[in-house]
C-alpha cells in the first residue's frame, strides 16, 4: 500500500517548515553578530530556496517540459538575486 505520509513530498514539507522556523530565528538575530542585514540576506535566500522546492516538487515542474522548468529556475534565481542585491545596498543609486 502506498503510504500517505512517508513520501518525498512529506519530506519536502518538513524541510520547508524547518526552513521557515529557522528564518524566524534569524530575524531575532544571530548571537555574536551585530550586522542584522546578514540575517536579512539569509532570510531572503532561504525564502527563494523554499520557492524552488514548491515550484519543482509541489507544482511538479521538475519533470515538466524543459522551457517551463527553465522559467521556474530562472524566476527564483533572478528575482531572489535582485531582491537580495537591492534590499540593503545602494543598488538604485539613491
Amino acid at each position: 500500500m502506498q503510504s500517505l505520509v512517508a513520501n518525498r513530498a512529506t519530506l519536502i514539507w518538513l524541510g520547508l517548515v524547518v526552513a521557515t522556523c529557522l528564518s524566524v530565528e534569524l530575524f531575532k538575530g544571530l548571537p555574536g553578530l551585530n550586522a542584522p542585514y546578514v540575517g536579512g540576506m539569509a532570510v531572503t535566500a532561504i525564502a527563494f530556496l523554499k520557492t524552488r522546492f514548491i515550484l519543482l516538487d509541489f507544482m511538479e515542474l521538475r519533470h515538466a517540459p524543459r522551457p517551463m522548468r527553465l522559467f521556474a529556475e530562472c524566476w527564483w534565481i533572478a528575482i531572489g538575486a535582485i531582491v537580495i542585491a537591492t534590499f540593503r545596498t545602494n543598488f538604485f543609486g539613491l
Binding site: M1, Q2, L4, N7, A9, T10, W13, L16, V17, T20, C21, S23, V24, L26, F27, P36, Y37, G39, G40, V43, T44, I46, A47, F48, K50, T51, I54, L55, D57, F58, M59, E60, L61, H63, A64, P65, R66, M68, F71, W75, I79, I82, V83, T86, F87, R88, N90, F91, F92, L94
Partner: protein, 199 residues
C-alpha cells in the same frame, strides 16, 4: 496492492517530461509570478529610500502570526500534493478528504489574517500610517484575494474529483488547480520574508 504497482511504475513515468494541467493554466501562473516579482522589486526600491522607517515599522508586525500563516499554507499545500497522489492511485475518497483539509486550512489563513489586520486597526495602524504599511496592507490584501480565488478553485476541484468524466480529464483539471494553490502558498513564502523578516 494497486498502490505498490503504481510506485514501481513511477521511475519510468517520471523519466518522461509531463506537463501538469493544461498549458493555459501556466500562462496564468507564470504571469502572476512576474506580477508579484514586480511587487517584490518595487518594495525594495521604495525601501531603499528610507530603510530605517521600514525596519522600525516591521517590528510592529506580529511575526508569530506571520509564522502561523506560513505554516498553515505550507501544510495546506501538502494536503493538495497528497490529494493529487491519492487521486492518481484512484483513492477518490482520500483525495476528497485531503482537498477539504486544504480548504479548511485556507479558511484558517483568512481568519488569522482578519485577526492580524483588526489588531493593526485597533492600534491605529492603517494604509495611511506610512509607506511600509501601505505596502503591507496592499500586498497582503492582493495576496488574500488570491487565497479567496484559490478556495474557489479548491471547491471546484472537490467537485471535479468525484465527477463522472474520465480519470484523465479530471486529472488534468486537478493538476492545474493544485498548481494554482501552490502558487498562492509560494507567493506568501516570499511576502512573509520580505515584509516580516527581512531587515
Amino acid at each position: 496492492m494497486h498502490g505498490s504497482h503504481t510506485e514501481a511504475a513511477r521511475p519510468q513515468v517520471s523519466r518522461q517530461r509531463h506537463m501538469p494541467g493544461e498549458e493555459g493554466v501556466w500562462l496564468f501562473i507564470f504571469g502572476d509570478m512576474l506580477f508579484f516579482a514586480v511587487f517584490f522589486v518595487t518594495f525594495n526600491y521604495y525601501r531603499a529610500h528610507d530603510v530605517a522607517l521600514y525596519t522600525r515599522s516591521q517590528l510592529q508586525l506580529n511575526q508569530a502570526l506571520g509564522l502561523a500563516n506560513t505554516l498553515i499554507l505550507l501544510t495546506s499545500s501538502w494536503c493538495v500534493v497528497q490529494s493529487l497522489r491519492a487521486f492518481r492511485s484512484e483513492r477518490i475518497a482520500t483525495s476528497k478528504y485531503l482537498l477539504a483539509g486544504a480548504g479548511v486550512l485556507g479558511m484558517a489563513f483568512i481568519v488569522s489574517k482578519a485577526i492580524e489586520w483588526s489588531d493593526k486597526f485597533r492600534h491605529g495602524i492603517t494604509v495611511e500610517t506610512n509607506e511600509f504599511f501601505m505596502f503591507y496592507f496592499m500586498f497582503t490584501g492582493i495576496h488574500l484575494i488570491h487565497v479567496i480565488i484559490g478556495l474557489g478553485v479548491l471547491a471546484y476541484l472537490y467537485r471535479t474529483v468525484g465527477a463522472r468524466s474520465s480519470h484523465a480529464a479530471r486529472l488534468v483539471t486537478l493538476e492545474g488547480g493544485a498548481a494554482f494553490w501552490h502558487l498562492v502558498d509560494m507567493l506568501w513564502v516570499v511576502l512573509f520574508a520580505l515584509l516580516y523578516l527581512m531587515r
